[in-house]
């Protein structure tokens, strides 16, 4: 698969899974500025025809939205509160699973790792200048940013 096709897959799959799993509607950002401010990062490794990882960097406020939408409750609901990290990891898990099928096909077995989630305070990241990294940035309807990186090792 060519890089343009992988970029298209990354864009379409991420947007679709955010919508299907978390009811979050997004638009790809046309110009990518460095990600600034308080953010969270979730990453998951994969092993298949190629090795790599998928990384999600997102506005910290989205974690509680993921949790609430998974459960079908309001973000300030007690059941959702405190489950933001877990929900973010699962959101990435869902994106990565669908992405692996789209990139490698439905016949190929790809092993996914366990998601790791962390807070990133005062993050100021430049675009990863790595020719094996493909990335896309989204903005939600609530002006929250989500970046997704596909990195081949």
């Amino acid at each position: 698969m060519r890089d343009e096709e992988i970029l298209e897959a990354l864009t379409e799959v991420t947007a679709q899974m955010l919508e299907d799993a978390a009811f979050i509607f997004t638009k790809p950002m046309e110009s990518r500025l460095p990600f600034e401010g308080e953010a969270m990062q979730a990453k998951i490794g994969f092993e298949g025809p190629r090795l790599g990882m998928v990384v999600l960097i997102f506005d910290k406020s989205l974690a509680s939205v993921f949790a609430a939408n998974f459960l079908g409750v309001e973000p300030d609901n007690l059941e959702a509160m405190g489950k933001g990290r877990d929900a973010a990891g699962e959101m990435l898990n869902i994106i990565a699973g669908a992405l692996m099928e789209r990139i490698f096909g439905e016949e190929i077995v790809v092993n996914l790792g366990i998601p790791e989630v962390q807070y990133l305070e005062n993050l100021q990241s430049e675009n990863v200048n790595n020719e094996d990294c493909i990335q896309v940035s989204f903005m939600t309807d609530e002006d929250q940013r989500i970046d997704v990186h596909l990195i081949f090792l």
């Binding site: 299907d20 990565a96 699973g97 669908a98 366990i114």
Partner: protein
């Protein structure tokens, strides 16, 4: 009379979401039991009978695949139907799991009707 369902996933939010989806599906459930990995699932199965096990694949300590293998090797536990609930979508993996005795596979993200159709069908036939 409702069903006893064991939900196995290392994510507490997925366990809660599965529970909610099953409740919304209209299935008659007597009790939900939860486990964070295969090892805890086996401990739970040692304590109480369940009518069906829903399990993820990738979990720390003991994976869903190992859980299925252990259940298949046990004369009592191999009677309990197992359904995989996972993000992994490889047809090869699904076929391998079915060959191990898994009854069905529900992909994440899931909808209440996925559980109604799959679990309802399995339990009605048992």
């Amino acid at each position: 009379m409702g069903y006893n369902i064991l939900i196995v996933d290392d994510s507490s939010i997925i366990r809660a979401a599965v529970k909610k989806a099953i409740e919304m599906s209209g299935l008659d459930v007597a009790a939900f039991h939860e486990a964070a990995n295969g090892k805890h699932a086996l401990e739970a199965l040692d304590q109480q009978w369940v009518d069906i096990v829903l399990t993820d694949i990738n979990m720390p300590e003991m994976s869903g695949v190992e859980l299925i293998e252990r259940m298949a090797a046990d004369d009592l536990l191999n009677k309990i139907p197992v359904v995989i609930v996972s993000t992994e979508r490889s047809r090869t993996r699904i076929e391998n799991l079915m060959a191990m005795g898994v009854r069905a596979y529900i992909k994440k993200p899931f909808r209440p009707e996925d559980f109604r159709d799959v679990i309802g069908g399995i339990l009605a036939g048992s």
